[in-house]
């Protein structure tokens, strides 16, 4: 009896029972951790490895990945704001009713009557916006640090799917309040889906072949924005797209881990300062076990052949960093929600368009192009852009500069030059279109096909394309071409979005400021 633990120590059963009762809280805590409390590097590593949620991380993280300037935490901001929209979104669902007119009333209730409803709605809206900004900036950072290269090409493609899904989530949410803003933005969006008709009409084949009409019909479930459309958008917004997003995010994270963590420069060891005190490399002790799955693991296993590994345990180093970014995201959402309300206009009125009718801000750059040709601005150019972006890692297969900001031929100077060129090009094209109009004004009878081929959007695309081809030649590097193109794309996106957001008023006319809008 002597060696047994105290729990079963003598005394009457009733006494032991009382003892056990007292010990429940501590014992319960202990049973939560399969390997005992993680209180050493090894214990914590084991904990990360054994825990179903944490093992999405690798046990150790490279010190390069933890530098702020590697990621600026942008992916985490995107994930964090998504989680915030999930929580606040589910709460909003308690009161939201997806039926025309009733929907508007329910949002009004949420805004004015439901306890905390106003605040939660604001947070939901702000988190959604932050998610869009986050996903765009995250993409830019991955691009500029050349982190899409082998073996990460496929993960970049997954990201190219995550981008439209994020935009889609936000856009479908935009209809739900059923106010004027929502109704007309979606009417325009649905007609953009129908805009391939512009081409089929010009070719005179719409009777036989009408993909545009079919797209709109499927999106709206009708020929106009009504109850069917609202239910479809609701379903997409609260179920289908979030599920698709979670699925893609899971693959995305898995690949980050399996592709060997974040991209880093080949000479990373000389670039990092010596480690802090009390961070131990793995191999101070011989590994106690080998991985029994090693037989099926092909190619790189984490540590083989990389002796000075420069990693630290993910717990706590990586987790602190993640928690910090997550807290920052929540802080931002809450702060913005305290001061700026989510908009809600008058109830939707299918007979009187909102003037100007503006889409959510991240689509206003496209709306600027749509004002010349619905098909090119709304479908053609976005498709070309997405496809072009998706192909980048397959076209740039160089090695120099991976993991470094503006890495590769040309570097920061090329990016600055290209941004200047991109800026100049978009400003000139916009200025001409605003000051002198475009083909339709110069030549009223002009055939539609010509406008589809020749409008500010296509002109810009071609100008940017020419620039990047020239850069490829000049620097003799595909990476340089990609850098040039991406910088141009950013300049164009930003300028068009700004013009669409702040400089367009009623009838989509140009105004220097909203104070000059004719009163209505």
């Amino acid at each position: 009896m002597s060696g047994l633990p105290t729990e079963t120590d003598g005394g009457p059963a009733l006494g032991r029972f009382a003892d056990n009762l007292k010990r429940i809280p501590r014992r319960f805590l202990e049973t939560m951790f399969r390997g005992g409390r993680p209180d050493s590097d090894r214990g914590r590593s084991n904990f990360v490895f054994q825990n179903v949620f944490l093992h999405l991380h690798s046990v150790r993280t490279h010190r390069w990945s933890l530098k702020w300037s590697t990621t600026w935490g942008l992916g985490m901001i995107t994930l964090g704001s998504f989680l915030v929209t999930v929580v606040t979104g589910v709460l909003l669902m308690f009161y939201y009713k997806p039926y025309p007119d009733v929907a508007y009333q329910s949002i009004k209730d949420i805004h004015f009557v439901v306890p905390t409803g106003h605040f939660l709605r604001n947070i939901h809206r702000w988190a959604a916006n932050i998610m869009v900004v986050g996903v765009l900036l995250h993409m830019a950072r991955v691009f500029f640090t050349a982190s899409y290269r082998k073996p990460r090409e496929f993960n970049w493609v997954i990201g190219m799917l995550l981008l439209p899904v994020t935009l889609g989530l936000s856009f479908t949410g935009y209809l739900l309040p059923w106010d004027q803003l929502a109704y007309w933005a979606i009417t325009i969006g649905a007609n953009i889906a129908q805009s391939p008709r512009e081409v089929t009409d010009a070719l005179g084949i719409t009777q036989q072949f009408d993909p545009g009409g079919l797209q709109k019909l499927i999106l709206l479930g009708s020929d106009e924005v009504g109850e069917e459309a609202l239910i479809r958008f609701y379903l997409l917004h609260v179920l289908i797209l979030p599920l698709v997003l979670c699925f893609l995010v899971a693959v995305h994270f898995w690949r980050v881990r399996k592709d060997g963590g974040l991209a880093r420069p080949a000479d990373v060891d000389v670039r990092l300062p010596p480690p802090e005190r009390r961070t131990f490399p793995v191999f101070t002790e011989a590994p106690a076990k080998t991985y029994s799955l090693a037989a099926v693991v092909k190619s790189r296993t984490p540590a083989v052949g990389n002796p000075p590994e420069n990693t630290v345990p993910s717990m706590p180093h990586l987790f602190y960093a993640e928690a910090a970014v997550f807290m920052l995201t929540i802080f931002l959402c809450v702060l913005l929600s305290l001061f700026i309300d989510a908009p809600l206009k008058e109830i939707a009125n299918p007979l009187v368009p909102e003037n100007p009718a503006k889409a959510p801000w991240y689509f206003l750059g496209l709306q600027e192009l749509v004002a010349h040709s619905a098909f090119m601005g709304g479908i053609g150019i976005p498709m070309i852009t997405l496809l072009g972006l998706a192909l980048i890692p397959y076209l740039d297969r160089e090695k120099a500069g991976t993991g470094l900001w503006f890495g590769g031929s040309g570097g920061g100077r090329l990016v600055a030059m290209s941004a200047a060129y991109g800026l100049a090009a978009v400003l000139v094209v916009e200025a001409v279109a605003i000051r002198f109009g475009w083909l339709q004004q110069w030549w009223p009878g002009c055939p539609q096909l010509l406008i589809i081929l020749l409008n500010p959007g296509t002109v810009l695309t071609v100008l940017y394309g020419i620039w990047s081809v020239w850069v490829v030649k000049r620097f003799d590097s595909t990476r340089a071409g990609a850098l040039g193109l991406f910088a141009c794309f950013m300049a164009g996106f930003i300028v068009l979005t700004v013009v669409g957001t702040w400089f367009r008023g009623p009838n989509w006319e140009f105004y220097w400021s909203p104070s000059q809008w004719p009163g209505h």
Binding site: I188, A202, D223, P353, P356, V370, A371, H372, N507
Partner: protein, 164 residues
Amino acid sequence: MSQEPKPSATPSRLDPELTARRDFLGTAATTLACGTCGFALLGSARLPKVAVLPSASKKFKVVLPPSLLPGQPFVPPGRSVAIFKDGDSVHAISTICTHLGCVVKPVESGFDCPCHGSRFAANGDVVRGPAPKALAWLSVSSAGGGAVLVDEGKVVPAGTKVSV
């Protein structure tokens, strides 16, 4: 099952398997299963395409105000169609912009679209882009007793006027 090839040396799990017949059955079954699921999915993909448009009937009857001057548009409340009457010839033009579906406003010179600035002549022709084509002319017929029957869902060739 009768003559499985006898393993010659000590078998290893790394050796490629020899049972071709099981392979064949397995492949056939997998293909069949995938094919069936694919077919089922393809079939159900038809679901989201509505068979009958759920929107309200597009036909309506309206009595034109007697004070309506020739060339002056009359937009019945709650409808997006402008009706014109000249003597006893009547025609109707849709006020849905052919660009992206905003509702155009009848003005002195014809119609203006508030969304991206398209302008149309009084007969619906495009005067200024981005609208790619003219406003649609809609079917009108006499409904007796001074009333007309308009079908917003039925487009007729531009210039079609009926007498009532």
